[in-house]
């Protein structure tokens, strides 16, 4: 198990290196430049002299290879560069936003798991029941509802009408401010989880070993506890992992709507003005997050299913 964990963790390193290279290449060939976006006001073209000065100042006039070497050597020292716009180290900008993002993603996922998994489970145990029908209709609605609309609705009901929760902002980072954005963000993974859990449990219930369990004279409740739950967990963990990874990036809409200071809005804002170092840094962090979640999922798999360690 330990060797499996170690090997799985070491696989992160080469992936990060490849991703870092890809990001660099992509952003050195995209059209548009920071200087242009800063000086152009939409009516006249930017003054070429000023643009040239800025480009030189930012070191963007150097050959691609040279910039690449600087980028990689800085990266090796965990230096993600300096923002073109604010002239602050990128790592500080990300650090300011990362924790709010994590908070939001974790809270949304906890909400989705706590509600979605039990609902899917119960629906599968009583297929065709009222609960099953209501859950599945709810899941489809949850999946198809635009997040910003749902967010506005939540704001209207819980903040404006009922006045229970603050409508937006990070506040002092208290739970109150977190609830509305987290619930809104959690609806999609919740719906997906309810559906996959239901499908997974139904699948397990049809397995031969469930018939064996019944033939032993086990009650329905014990069959579920002893034989269904663990087997259904594999699919649930997969879904949680996939959703968790994409939540940080997906959160942009929610971050904008609730004025949540997350990493998603930092990324989008930086792309708009071609603040390349921030874009590169942010994407790298999101990728790292994805890899960490993936590794965690693999390790959980191995803990659940003894067949995986065998390779």
């Amino acid at each position: 198990m330990l060797r499996f964990a170690l090997r799985r963790n070491l696989q992160i390193v080469p992936t990060v290196i490849v991703v870092a290279l890809l990001i660099f290449v992509i952003f050195s060939v995209v059209p548009g430049s920071f200087a242009a976006s800063l000086f152009a006001d939409g009516k006249r073209a930017a003054d070429p002299q000023m643009m040239a000065r800025l480009t030189q100042e930012l070191g963007l006039d150097k050959p691609l290879m040279e910039r690449f070497v600087t980028y990689v050597t800085d990266l090796a020292r965990f230096d993600l560069g300096t923002s073109f716009r604010t002239r602050q180290p990128v790592i500080d900008l990300i650090n300011d936003r990362m924790w709010a993002s994590l908070q939001l993603a974790i809270a949304a996922m906890v909400f989705a798991v706590l509600v979605g998994v039990p609902l899917g489970f119960l629906a599968a145990l009583r297929p065709g029941s009222v609960l099953d029908t209501v859950t599945m209709i709810g899941a489809v609605s949850g999946l198809s509802m635009p997040q910003f609309w749902l967010g506005l609705l939540m704001m209207y009901v819980f903040a404006l009408q009922l006045n229970w929760l603050p409508s937006f902002g990070y506040g002092d980072g208290s739970l109150q401010n977190l609830i509305l954005p987290a619930v809104t963000l959690g609806v999609t993974p919740l719906a997906l989880l309810a559906r996959t859990t239901r499908a997974g449990v139904l699948d397990v219930l049809n397995a031969d070993f469930i018939r064996t369990a019944h033939s032993k004279g086990m009650s329905e409740a014990k069959v579920v506890r002893w034989h269904v739950a663990r087997n259904a967990l594999v699919l649930i963990v997969t879904t949680v992992g996939l959703q968790f990874g994409s939540l940080i990036g997906q959160a942009v809409v929610i971050e904008k709507l609730f004025a949540w200071p997350g990493i998603g809005s930092l990324l989008v804002d930086s792309v708009a003005i071609r603040d390349i170092p921030v874009v590169q840094g942010t994407i790298l962090v999101i990728v790292l997050w994805f890899l960490i979640i993936n590794t965690a999922v693999d390790l959980i798999y191995a803990a659940i299913d003894p067949r995986i360690k065998q390779e």
Partner: protein, 302 residues
């Protein structure tokens, strides 16, 4: 004459599809004496497995019992409550399934899966149940039972897994063991071992066996009496020797005739395999003869 252990009387099973009920089993009746090995043969779809699942009370929708009685030690299983049936299932009547690969939970050690029997039916704690599970593995002659109990199903061969199933089924010393094609999925070499194991263990403990197979050879070597099933009916029943020596029903004759024989060859050095298609397609002939089964069986007894 002793009372039969299992007395199935006029068992009817139907599949309900929409508002129509399609008959699957048509008045199947047979008896199994305590300690007796009884075989059910027949082709796929003849209703052998449905019969065994009905006895276990494990029929799944859309199948359900539409009539008849299943008397076990004089008690009609169809009248029992779910809870009473659970107490019996696994404990007094146990079952072995065809596919040892999929019949065991892949995420649970085999020791734990056997131990569940002791926890369920004998109220043992897990620690003691695990120890008993090791003994149960030893009793089906699994080498290194202590180590094997900690194995997961995927770490075992098909033969070993079927031994685990047998250990599990016999854990509570049931009165009746239902073995549904227990060796069909196994290698021929392992088949003989597993068959011998079932035969010996059941003889030792006085457990009656309901043996279900499409393999006449398997039935001939294990059972004292045989019932032949065809299209949801028990068409013939007799002592194994008598049935194989003097089949009365046309279908049985067809079934026996279809056995390839070693050494019997035509002039061209090839043996033509006989099929029984003509009998199956000729439905009218079957309707005439199918309900003579009980009488033929009685007549066949010495």
């Amino acid at each position: 004459m002793t009372a039969p252990l299992l007395d199935v009387r006029g068992l009817k099973v139907a599949a309900r599809l929409g508002d129509r009920a399609h008959p699957i089993l048509k008045e199947v009746s047979f008896q199994i004496m305590p300690g007796e090995a009884y075989g059910l043969v027949g082709e796929s779809g003849s209703g052998k497995s449905v019969t065994s699942l009905a006895v276990m009370g494990l029929l799944k929708k859309p199948l359900r019992v539409a009539g008849g009685e299943i008397l076990f030690k004089g008690q009609d299983l169809l009248q029992l409550s779910k809870r009473e049936m659970r107490r019996l299932r696994g404990n007094r009547v146990a079952m072995i399934f065809q596919e040892p690969m999929t019949a065991l939970n892949p995420l649970s050690t085999v020791g734990r899966q056997i131990a569940e029997m002791f926890v369920l039916h004998q109220g043992k704690g897990w620690d003691e149940a695990q120890r008993l599970a090791v003994d149960a593995l030893a009793s089906v002659r699994v080498p290194n039972p202590d180590r094997r109990a900690r194995n997961f199903p995927h770490q075992m061969s098909g033969g070993l897994r079927q031994r685990v199933m047998i250990a599990m089924a016999l854990a509570c010393n049931p009165d009746l063991l239902i073995a549904d094609e227990p060796t069909t999925a196994l290698d021929v070499t392992v088949q003989a071992e597993v068959l011998r194991l079932i035969k010996e263990l059941c003889a030792e403990r006085g457990t009656a066996v309901l043996f279900i197979s499409h393999d006449l050879g398997v039935i001939a070597s294990t059972c004292q009496r045989v019932g032949v099933m065809y299209s949801g009916c028990l068409v013939e029943e007799n002592e194994t020797q008598a049935l194989f020596g003097d089949p009365r029903h046309e279908y049985t004759r067809g079934l026996l005739g279809a056995l390839p024989r070693l050494g019997s060859r035509s002039q061209h050095g090839r043996q033509r395999l006989v099929d029984i298609d003509s009998i199956i397609s000729d439905r009218s002939k079957l309707t005439e003869t199918r309900f003579i089964a009980p009488r033929a069986a009685e007549g066949g007894q010495p």
